[in-house]
């Protein structure tokens, strides 16, 4: 063995030493925790395993996107919680984005009243802790809603009450055919856009793509209704008396107030941050860009669409990705108001019933990690798509 090769003067080796040391320290820390946990669990007679996931859960969940009752397994309960977390996150991200863009643009408005209102909204909702906002929407705003017999009535179709928002239930026949027709419509629209782009670039012809695609989106599914046997009927909610003084609605679908309160609180809170991102993005595009665009004869709409937005989006997307991640993780506060998300159903109820703390917490953490990474990847892909394509 040539000792000269392991020379501290050698840059390669010198660079390697701290890395090796870091890895070794990390491994020994992890090893210490693992043995510690094993010894302690052994001492207390706690076993480790994931067998409990297939045991019967024996508790019910108020709100579920898939079929569930207590006779299903803990694994299924986890899935119910995960889907509820995804549901409230998707609704929250959707509403927060719309509200955030509106408020962000409003802050840049020349109209004093609009700009100031938007500013106050941002300052107030950004600076109050989220959990308090959730309590506000759930307990304060909910209390103001009427009981079912005095419901806020939307044309006898839908009813808003303290027990939830009752909407008609969709009863489909041949739902799968309808889905295929929707997919077909979207594929057609994609090809339409490609064709329109070619026309514009080669012949300078501008097609009314928006009107055409709207037409396709309506006509193809309509065709499936008329000729392919798809049909849709509604089960309207009906008032039902439970006792002398209490009522509920049956036959419809109930959107539980916990979901409404949580989605509202999450989106109102996160929208303030998105609004600031949008404002920063639009302000980040130089004034000269707009003037240059106007000087070559683009319309106001075209300036926004072709010059300002593509550049603003580059500034807006990365910080907004963070806000989407925050919103998803913040949805775990749901437990406070009994919205059955993954934390409440799995990391609290299931953990309590089974006592499997390490297993359940690690599954929950890994799931949040995967959710966050998925959102990140999606947004990074979108960001890359929007980035300057340098030749």
């Amino acid at each position: 063995m040539n000792l000269k090769k392991i020379n501290i003067e050698n840059k390669k080796i010198r660079d390697l030493i701290p890395q090796v040391l870091t890895v070794l320290t990390l491994i020994s820390v992890i090893f210490y925790f693992a043995t510690n946990a094993q010894i302690n669990m052994g001492n207390r007679g706690i076993s480790f395993g994931f067998g409990f996931l297939s045991q019967e859960a024996s508790f019910d969940i108020a709100f579920s996107l898939i079929e569930f009752d207590g006779s299903y397994s803990y694994g299924r309960a986890f899935l119910v919680g995960l889907l509820n977390t995804i549901l409230v996150s998707v609704i929250g991200i959707f509403l927060a984005t719309i509200l955030g863009v509106i408020v962000g643009v409003a802050r840049l408005s020349d109209n004093y009243l609009i700009a100031k209102t938007a500013e106050w909204y941002v300052e107030i909702f950004r600076n109050i802790p989220l959990i308090l906002q959730i309590f506000f929407w759930y307990f304060a705003a909910l209390r103001a809603l009427p009981s079912p017999e005095n419901a806020i009535n939307f044309y006898d179709i839908s009813y808003l009450t303290i027990k939830g928002w009752y909407i008609p239930k969709f009863v489909w026949i041949n739902f799968d055919i309808f889905c295929y027709s929707l997919i077909l419509a979207f594929v057609s629209i994609y090809f339409l856009y490609r064709y329109a782009k070619k026309q514009r670039e080669e012949f300078g012809k501008i097609l009314p793509t928006f009107t055409l695609s709207l037409g396709i989106l309506i006509l193809i599914p309509l065709f499936s209704f008329l000729l392919l046997g798809v049909s849709l009927t509604f089960n309207y909610p009906e008032l039902k008396q439970l006792s002398e003084t209490s009522y509920t609605y049956e036959n419809g679908v109930s959107i539980i107030p916990e979901l409404m309160a949580l989605a509202l609180a999450l989106s109102m809170y996160t929208a303030t941050f998105i609004a600031e991102n949008v404002r920063a993005g639009v302000m980040g595009v130089g004034k000269g860009q707009k003037e240059a665009a106007a000087s070559i004869g683009l319309t106001k709409g075209q300036i926004l669409k072709l010059v300002v937005m593509p550049q603003a989006l580059r500034i807006i997307i990365p910080p907004t990705t963070n806000q989407y991640l925050n919103l998803t993780k913040n949805s775990s506060l749901a437990a406070a108001i009994a919205y059955p998300d993954m934390v409440l159903v799995f990391a609290k109820t299931a953990l309590m019933q089974t006592g499997r703390a390490i297993e359940i917490i690690s599954i929950t953490m890994l799931t949040y990690l995967s959710l966050s990474i998925s959102i990140s990847l999606l947004m990074n892909w979108y960001n890359k798509k929007m980035a300057i394509k340098e030749k």
Partner: protein, 348 residues
Amino acid sequence: MMKSIKTWILVGFASLLLVACGQGGGGAGSKKSKTLDNTKKAGFVKCGVSQGLPGFSNADASGNWSGIDVDVCRAVAAAVLGDADKVKYTPLSAAERFTALTSGEIDVLARNTTWTLSRDADIGLTFVGVNFYDGQGFMVRKNSGINSVNDFKDGISACTNTGTTTELNMRDFFNSKNIKYEPIAFEKADEVVQAYDAGRCDTYTTDKSGLAAQRTKLSAPDDHKVLPETISKEPLGPVVRQGDSVWEDIVRWSLNTMIEAEEYGVNSSNASSLKDSDNPAIKRLVGAEGELGAAFGLDNDWSLRIIEQVGNYGESYKKHIADTGILPNRGPNELWTKGGILYVPPAR
């Protein structure tokens, strides 16, 4: 393969639960108790209680805890440390309580916890006895016209706490009656009360003692009533970690002493004067005969201190449950000699 995945997950997240307790529990079978030694060293008993349940464990405005669960902690402190006030209370949610105990954050869990087979056998816990026999019931609005659980109809919404046996009993009950219901499970009792008060749910279900206690927090307590039916057995009692049998015995016999003292008519005011009683059972209770404390490494006055500083079970019940109007009638929580089911093994 499965084994290595398990190890990895263990490795990654072990720190979560057990990092706080490097020391581990005492070895089973030995006379030495690590928990007892640690408690003496720390100078206080680490006791887990509820986040506020009048009658059981509730803190007043200045942070002083009281209730019959709190009295169990106080009895252990009086026996072990000689001063019932040397207790450090940790308020815990239903979901946190067992993890707090197994991880060593607390040494006694006195938090209206139902004794069940799976809890006792599966998750590293040992129940030491029962300090309150309870059962699950339902609270409804008086003007609803509901007088019995048989008046419940499909579509009823029921509020309760998550992570409790209540949630499971509720399902068993509604399933057996074939009633469709909407379960709304909150993490904290205060939020259940608020939601029920607001009209979010038609009924509030939990242990009957809990219903009676929570009713006092409603905006108009007199507009609500508890239905007569009891749908489950809920023997509530203190819990300790599995694996330290000496500590387990100390907690068990601290509770038993309070009940036995009531049986023999020994209370906080007459205990010291009964040292020369004619009844050997009483003499043993006040430490004038036998060497009972030595069995768990305590002195002979351990039981006298419990009775003097905390009182017997009857005094505790009267002070916290009866006089506060929660459940004036003792029902099953009466001594076996008076028609109840409180019966403890003899202290001899």
